[in-house]
């Protein structure tokens, strides 16, 4: 019986470093995939910023973009704005997935998306539009 207790004690010692390590969390965001997505989004931002300003495009709570007021852009421009939104949303979805994957926790994607959803809005300039929890549009 003593041997069993000793054995269990050794197992506890073996697992202690892992428990300690799990407590210190820092997210890995420097992978080639994430860098590519950032560059792609950065290049698109100049075009999108004008649509944030005029209220055509707003931020949703799930960290994406949506057409808020299509009448803010000309009919000819509407298709361009729609494809900008869908390209940006594709990159954003990929970004959240990649960050979760880069940190070996694919299941964190949802939380990462929610965090980004809040931070895009928090860092948005005043005058830009975002969707509140109940779905209505609010101007910052």
């Amino acid at each position: 019986m003593n041997r069993a207790i000793l054995y269990l004690f050794l197992m506890v010692l073996f697992f202690v470093p892992f428990v300690g390590y799990a407590g210190e969390a820092n997210l890995e965001v420097n992978t080639p995939a994430i860098t590519n997505l950032k560059q792609s989004m950065q290049a698109r931002h100049a075009q999108l910023a004008a649509n944030y300003e005029n209220g055509a495009v707003g931020f949703t709570t799930d960290g994406l973009l949506a057409m808020r007021d299509a009448s803010a852009v000309s009919l000819a421009q509407r298709q361009v704005v729609n494809s900008l939104i869908s390209a940006e949303n594709q990159d954003r979805n990929a970004l959240y997935r990649e960050i979760a994957r880069a940190n070996n926790h694919p299941e964190w994607e949802k939380e990462i998306r929610a965090t980004f959803g809040q931070r895009w809005i928090k860092l948005a300039k005043s005058g830009w539009w975002y969707q509140s929890e109940n779905g209505s549009w609010v101007q910052k």
């Binding site: 969390a25 950065q42 939380e111 965090t115 980004f116």
Partner: protein, 56 residues
């Protein structure tokens, strides 16, 4: 032989219990995620440069 079996099953159970503890301990690092999000958004929107310009 029977004794060996009980030691083995006991240690397997204990190992499972410990891994469960480790798994529970890996919580979502909310503060780190926020920091990472701010960094990425700052780069995509090029916010740092604007803030530096504002300071000048």
């Amino acid at each position: 032989m029977k004794k060996n079996f009980s030691y083995t099953s006991l240690s397997v159970l204990f190992g499972m219990f410990l891994s469960a503890c480790v798994t529970i301990n890996i919580y979502f690092p909310a503060a780190a995620a926020e920091k990472a999000a701010d960094k990425i958004i700052g780069e995509v929107w090029q916010l740092e440069e604007n803030e530096e310009l504002d300071d000048q």
